[in-house]
């Protein structure tokens, strides 16, 4: 049984365009509500077996989660930054700091997932999650060390182990989840990408192909491993499916970058002509680096550029990706979800707050 998506792209575009404008006006504070609105749109238009999902989270919860996370993170951060005691031992001084924040980031990822899952409702029954964020963080860190030591070769097994932990603790009502993907299968499908990765780093036009293929392989493998009781998810995503998306984003970055450069050039010429000095002298004297009007114009242009980039990323890498991923999905055994008893409590948004504060948040 395929999964349907009923949303209109223009509607989503309108939503993120308006959101970007409001983010501009509120200097970023609107992000909590924009993120919520994006999720509400995507969830509500995702129909499984004819019934649409629903996202019941609210922007206010994210804001509170962020503020609480801030209150907890700032003293820790402050302690580390001012804790110069460690710096005196020089060489390894920053290792505990990095390790701590890596673990904390993993903890945040787990708790943020729990928040999102408990706000996901289908057929009047919510998804929910148990398990411990710290156990997950420890597991992720140990696997992270192993992955680093094997230069990334252990990544498929790391992903599989972490997904098993997450899915084992996920529920839909009283239906327990599980993950059947094996690291070995992921490895079999993607090992050649591992070989290509070092080349792609040097030959950058190759990178979107390699990354796009990797993401497609990962999505397909991940989706095909998801189980909730007797419900089995299946994905038939092709390796080339996502490459176009990444190229479109790159194309827009180039276009927006050009527009931004032209704008900067025009602004410089305008300011130079107003200063009265001949152009060549104006630029030679380095005066233009200190010209207030030019700096203000450049700052505004940069903000507009950054917000336009946000719109592009949200339309292509959130909406379009969502639609393509859903399009590849097939669900078997949906009868098992026909009469599931409701269970589970809502989790708070603290994890999302940490994820936002540490910049590790997924969507």
């Amino acid at each position: 049984m395929p999964v349907a998506f009923s949303g209109k792209r223009s509607e989503f575009f309108h939503l993120v365009r308006r959101g970007a404008g409001l983010e501009f006006v509120t200097l970023g504070f609107y992000r909590f509500w924009l993120l919520t609105d994006m999720r509400r749109h995507l969830w509500a238009n995702t129909l499984v077996d004819g019934d649409a999902a629903e996202y019941t989270g609210r922007g206010r919860e994210l804001l509170i989660g962020f503020l609480v996370a801030l209150a907890i993170l700032v003293p820790i951060l402050g302690y580390f930054l001012i804790g110069l005691e460690a710096e005196r031992f020089q060489a390894f001084a920053s290792i505990p700091l990095i390790a701590f924040f890596y673990m904390f980031g993993q903890f945040a990822i787990y708790r943020a997932r729990r928040y999102r899952l408990t706000r996901t409702v289908w057929r009047g029954v919510r998804f929910w999650m148990k398990g411990s964020g710290w156990s997950y963080a420890l597991l992720a860190s140990l696997w992270g060390v192993l992955t680093a030591l094997t230069l990334g070769l252990a990544l498929p097994w790391r992903t599989a182990a972490l997904e098993r932990y997450k899915m084992r603790h996920s529920y839909y009502g009283n239906l327990q989840g599980s993950f059947e993907g094996r690291g070995w299968e992921f490895f079999k499908r993607g090992w050649w990408l591992w070989l290509l990765a070092p080349i792609a780093i040097y030959v950058s036009p190759l990178a979107p192909f390699v990354y796009g293929a990797f993401k497609a392989v990962e999505w397909r493998w991940w989706l095909s491993g998801i189980r909730f009781g007797g419900v089995r998810v299946e994905s038939i995503m092709r390796r080339s499916e996502l490459i176009g998306l990444y190229w479109k984003v790159i194309g827009w970055i180039v276009v927006l970058g050009l527009v931004f450069s032209v704008y900067l050039g025009l602004a410089a010429v305008l300011v130079a002509s107003m200063s009265g000095a001949p152009f060549v002298e104006f630029f030679k004297s380095q005066d233009f680096m200190k010209s207030i009007p030019l700096l203000v114009l450049a700052g505004l242009g940069y903000l507009a550029f950054a917000l336009a980039m946000n719109i592009v990323i949200r339309v292509y890498l959130v909406h379009d990706l969502w639609v393509r991923v859903l399009g590849s999905v097939n669900i078997a055994g949906i009868e098992a979800a026909a009469n599931v008893a409701a269970q589970g409590e809502m989790a708070n948004a603290l994890g999302e707050g940490f994820a936002d504060g540490l910049d590790v948040g997924g969507f």
Binding site: S6, G7, K8, L22, E23, V25, T26, L27, G28, F29, Y30, R31, W33, R40, A44, N45, L47, D51, A52, E54, Y55, T56, G59, L70, V74, L81, L84, E85, E87, R88, V121, R123, G124, V125, R126, Y172, G173, S285, Q286, D287, M289, K290, I292, L295, G299, Y302, L303, A306, L307, M309, N310, I313, A337, A338, N339, V340, A341, A342, D356, D359
Partner: protein
Amino acid sequence: MDSHAPESSKPPPDGSANYFDGMSSRRRTVTLRLADRLEINEDEQTLAAWAYADIRRADSPAGMLRVSCLTAPALARLEVRDTVLAGQLVSRCAGMDDDIPGRRGVAAIIGWSLAATVSIIAVVLFGLPLAADRLAPLVPAAFERRLGDVADAQVKKLFGAKVCDNAAGEKAFVKLVTAIRESAGLDTSVQSGVLSSSIPNAFALPGGKVYLFNGLLAKAENADEIAGVLAHELGHLKHRDSMRGLIHDGATSFLVGLLFGDITGSSVLIFGSRTLVTSSHSREAEQNADSFAIDVMHRLGRPAKPAGELLLRVTGNEGKGLSIISSHPLSEDRLARMSRQDQPASRPPLLTAEEWRSLKSICDVKI
């Protein structure tokens, strides 16, 4: 309400809808009866009756009305695809959209964000300098020295510099620094040295360290020039400027970072606005250090102007560009100020010609 009753008792053309009771995921096909309350019926049996005032809209895909009820289980949902029936239901539920933040909700978000922005800016511009001034003296000296040790090691590594200390040069340098230090009223905890780097600069570190780069010595023409610069750096120590700067800069970056949140590439904006804010603060500190240096030099009976001339020689004319983002006042202005307040020399030079030559060659290995 009552006037609507006769009309609503008529079952709509196709009164069917989907109902989820919030206790299980079972989908029930139900018929609705719009009586004085909304009755949800399955096979002649009433599953639930919702008061119209308690009915709220929930998110739904296009072409479907989905509602919940405040008094029912939180996740109970009624889904109506029939547009006529949906219209009739909506017209009865006055509070349908009460929980959905409309224009007023967005206006509140904008308003509070702007209020937060204004208060953060106010704190950065007015609160932090005050806080830094009040807090800096409270920082324990031991902590400041430790900070200085770390900065010390970093500076030396950064510039690949070593301390120059050939005997004759060191003797002249100590003599010069001691004279200035005593005139400045600082105790012997002040450490100072010359570093072998060709960059013409001098600086003060927290915890009472003053360094002079050999590059500045090379550009200097007499002892008064160097004395003025050292006096300026001692002024920073006396005012504990590096501690104040640290508190001020750290807090500014943090608050500005908080403000911009996660707009892509916000670090550029954070850096930019921080530069603007902290440079104004540091220009003020520089001016105070200059005043201090002028005072010290006059107490020693030596002119302050040569230090200004040395600065101008090092930086060149800085031009008429707006100096709002530079951390120091323009060299021309500093020289002008030092000349304006200058007094002729009333005592002999701080170093003899011989000592001055030794100081100039303090970084030469062979002696």
